[in-house]
């Protein structure tokens, strides 16, 4: 492209525009970011040209969201440089990023639940008459228009708090579009959307790129990446693992091997394992509005995945089984006995233990040491609670640290100083003080790097080999496919799919997750 005379006089040393096929919109060089002891980004490079869609891929915790939040000014990087349309970008606030035209639509929409949809769309960028009075008519009209572009006819007067996950996602995207971005970041925009809504979104993206707007598109759905993206960037462990132009065809094998860093991991089949008797059985179990009649059966030594879209009752189901929530109806059988736990300890005594969703707040005493965290289950279950067998607790902690390969300076180290993966090992390790029959894990690899992730699954596998049953809710389907004997799919508080063997594929799980019951027949 020699259209611009400036290109010919670019001083030496600067990247010449002659070499790039289109004008660069965003250039990111060597961005680093640490959160406490965890390295989130370890020198990432990213280049985005005007009018193109860049697919940003990577396993959970590979740093995609952190990178996009840094570009959007919500997180301040520790190092590295950014350039937008040739001018350096150094902003520390979303406002500053928005002034440069960088707008992000988050994976987990953050809306003001008490305010109507139309106000949420223009939150912080209110449409005002002179003097700052809100021009409701104009704002409502524009909100309706933007939502219509996305194919939604929702009532814009209803409070955002009553919307479904899909509705909230659409409002979040509409909010980004309302700000006329020059660079739009879409962080898993389709996670909660159905097929028709995705098609409308893609049409909207195409209209933007036709105007020269650059889009960063984050998704786990390879089909969507292939359909909308011009360029691909794969991240792994906070680094750029690979970047290329798709030229119409998506090299899925290359993406998967770059994501996992282990070409064989994707293909490795689950070794068939012998399963024991039924250990836990749920019949029509109901609790609150999240769990609406769940039937399932778990056998000894089985590793079962719990999949589904976000917020279909997976986390709540695990909490009900663990005795954290009251059962409103149905039966929970443990071996051949119907139980109605009223407290977590009722289930812990039966060997049913929960590794909760939020490890620092629910799973650990974050102000205590590794050793203390590993010991308190033993103390809580002690037959003579007035004694404190310090020597025994010390041995237990040391043994658990060795067995689970917990990376720590020692039992005295504060648990909050460990990396996410090692913290999670402590959460699992504390239960080793008792005989675990059923281990319930709620998103156990959230914010955990890929190496620790495989270690956590190795621990689960080892426990299963010894007869422990694991029920794992994870937001990553690939992860479940790799490590589970069987996958249950939840939709609106019920189990709608039970897939195993050859039927255990991502498309089938996704179909069931969207409530398309034909795929969800018992395998």
């Amino acid at each position: 492209m020699l259209s611009s005379p400036d290109a010919l006089v670019t001083p030496a040393g600067e990247p010449s525009r002659l070499s790039s096929p289109a004008e660069t919109l965003l250039g990111v060089r060597g961005i680093t970011k640490r959160f406490g002891g965890v390295v989130a980004l370890d020198g990432v490079d990213l280049t985005l040209a005007r009018g193109r869609v860049l697919g940003l891929l990577g396993a959970n915790g590979s740093g995609k969201s952190t990178l996009s939040r840094i570009i959007a000014g919500e997180v301040v990087p520790d190092g590295g440089t950014m350039e937008m349309a040739g001018a350096p970008l150094s902003h520390a606030s979303p406002q500053a990023a928005a002034r440069r035209g960088i707008i992000i639509a988050h994976q987990h929409p953050s809306l003001a639940p008490d305010m109507p949809v139309w106000e949420n769309i223009f939150l912080g960028a209110e449409i005002c008459a002179p003097g700052g009075f809100i021009n409701r008519g104009e704002a409502r009209r524009r909100a309706t228009g933007i939502l219509a572009e996305l194919g939604s006819t929702m009532d814009i007067g209803q409070p955002a708090g009553v919307l479904t996950a899909a509705g909230q996602q659409l409002v979040e995207i509409a909010r980004a579009l309302a700000r006329s971005p020059r660079l739009l970041i879409l962080d898993e925009p389709t996670a909660a959307l159905a097929g028709a809504e995705v098609a409308k979104l893609f049409a909207a993206i195409r209209r933007l790129t036709a105007k020269g707007i650059g889009v960063i598109f984050i998704s786990h759905r390879l089909g969507e990446i292939g359909a909308i993206c011009d360029d691909i960037l794969v991240m792994r462990n906070g680094r750029t693992a690979g970047a290329w132009t798709t030229s119409g065809r998506l090299d899925e094998a290359r993406i998967l091997s770059l994501m996992t860093g282990d070409p064989d991991a994707v293909l490795r089949p689950m070794a068939a394992r012998a399963l024991g008797d039924t250990i836990l059985k749920l019949q029509g179990l109901r609790a609150g509005s999240a769990v609406r009649g769940v039937d399932l059966e778990l056998r000894r030594g089985e590793i079962v995945g719990l999949a589904g879209l976000q917020g279909q009752g997976q986390a709540e189901l695990l909490e009900v089984i663990a005795g954290h929530r009251r059962i409103d109806g149905g039966t929970l059988w443990h071996r051949d006995r119907a139980v109605t736990p009223s407290l977590p300890r009722d289930m812990i005594r039966r060997g049913v233990c929960l590794v909760p969703d939020d490890r620092l707040r629910q799973g650990l005493f974050s102000g205590e040491s590794v050793g203390e965290n590993l010991g308190y289950v033993k103390i809580a279950l002690a037959k003579r609670p007035w004694t404190l067998p310090l020597a025994e607790l010390g041995q237990l902690a040391a043994a658990t640290i060795r067995r689970l390969l917990i990376k720590t300076e020692g039992p005295e180290q504060l648990v909050s100083a460990l990396s996410g993966g090692n913290q999670q090992k402590v959460v699992i390790g504390k239960w080793l003080a008792t005989d675990i029959e059923v281990l319930l894990l709620s998103d156990p690899t959230k914010g955990v790097d890929i190496h620790a992730r495989s270690e956590i699954y190795a621990i689960i596998g080892e426990l299963a080999a010894a007869g422990t049953t694991a029920l794992i809710f994870a937001s990553e389907i690939q992860e479940l496919l790799l490590h589970c004997d069987r996958i249950l799919v939840m939709y609106e508080g019920r189990i709608v799919g039970n897939l195993s063997g050859a039927a255990m594929t991502e498309p089938r799980i996704m179909a069931a997750a969207f409530g398309r019951a034909s795929e969800g027949a018992d395998a």
Partner: protein, 312 residues
């Protein structure tokens, strides 16, 4: 009706009707103009201070120093002679500036230093009260009579206190349609969403404190106009009243949900309850006791009612 239900004020309106009926029964000539004027001038400070708390609560903060602030402003009015500052109007202006300064201090402590408002304003309240005590160690002193006369005057046959309440409600309504008011609600409804939407969260909360304390200043002047003397304990009860009125008025203590009308209704309920207790002939030493009981009962009723409607 739908709007009322959404605002969560139906149970509090019900309560208002009950206490109004009780009051009408107990207070002689309740429906006379004189009683009306009397009641309005009694309720005005309560209403203003409850509206102030409501604005601050909407932004997901709290201010437990409002009552002590009222005392401090009252003692300021009783200590500084109007002639020394250029007349009673100037004195009232200074009182409002003092109120804004107190609000600015609370706002800074909460937004810039990030202290939790629950305990931080409880502590600044102790400071305000301590200052008030040094100014007026024993109840007494006099306040310029002009202030009292202005307050009991009428403009176009409308009593001044009623005008003040109307003005305060008008300010609220105007702010509610302005970007600023909606940002206060947004910050209270979900601070993370507000931050991500580029709203300066700390600045908005700070302004909520300033607007609230302007109303506190007006309320303190109204009280002083009635008593015409200084008393470091005159405002104490208003802190509890303001928080209770906010809850009774259906304004969520978690921020973001509620209307000025709710605060108005809550303030009226509590004002009338005080009236009822007074006119029921309960000995004065027992009045606080019964007021406390009624507030607990009213809060319980609201919470049960909100839980019921949340499930339905």
């Amino acid at each position: 009706m739908r709007a009322l239900r959404h605002a969560g004020v139906i149970p509090s309106l019900l309560m208002l009707v009950v206490v109004l009926a009780l009051n009408a029964r107990l207070q002689h000539h309740f429906f006379s103009m004189l009683s009306f004027e009397d009641n309005v001038s009694t309720f005005t400070p309560t209403i203003l201070i409850c509206l102030a708390q409501a604005i601050i609560v909407l932004s997901r903060e709290l201010d437990l120093s409002l009552g002590a602030g009222v005392s401090l402003i009252n003692c300021f009015l009783a200590t500084v002679p109007a002639s020394a500052v250029g007349g009673p109007w100037a004195l009232m202006g200074l009182a409002l500036l003092l109120a804004l300064a107190l609000g600015a201090i609370n706002g800074l402590i909460v937004t810039v230093f990030g202290l939790p408002s629950l305990i931080a304003t409880f502590a600044t309240g102790a400071v305000w009260y301590g200052l008030a005590l040094t100014m007026v160690p024993q109840p007494g002193g006099t306040i310029d009579e002009t202030i009292g006369n202005v307050y009991s005057d009428t403009v176009f046959h409308i009593p001044v206190p009623l005008l003040i309440v109307l003005a305060a409600m008008l300010i609220w309504t105007v702010i509610g349609r302005h970007r600023l008011g909606r940002r206060i609600v947004a910050v209270g409804s979900n601070p993370v969403a507000a931050f991500q939407a580029g709203i300066p969260v700390a600045g908005v909360k700070f302004i909520a404190y300033l607007v609230g304390w302007l109303l506190v200043g007006l309320g303190a002047i109204a009280i002083s106009a009635q008593t015409l003397s200084g008393d470091a304990g005159v405002g104490t009860a208003y802190t509890l009243t303001s928080v209770a009125a906010v809850v009774i008025g259906g304004i969520s203590l978690a921020g973001g949900r509620g209307t000025p009308w709710g605060a108005l209704v809550g303030a009226l309920v509590l004002g009338i309850v005080a009236n009822v207790i007074y006119f029921a002939g309960i000995p004065s030493i027992w009045q606080e006791f019964f007021k406390g009981l009624v507030i607990v009962a009213a809060l319980g009723f609201m919470v049960i009612e909100q839980r019921r409607t949340a499930i339905a």
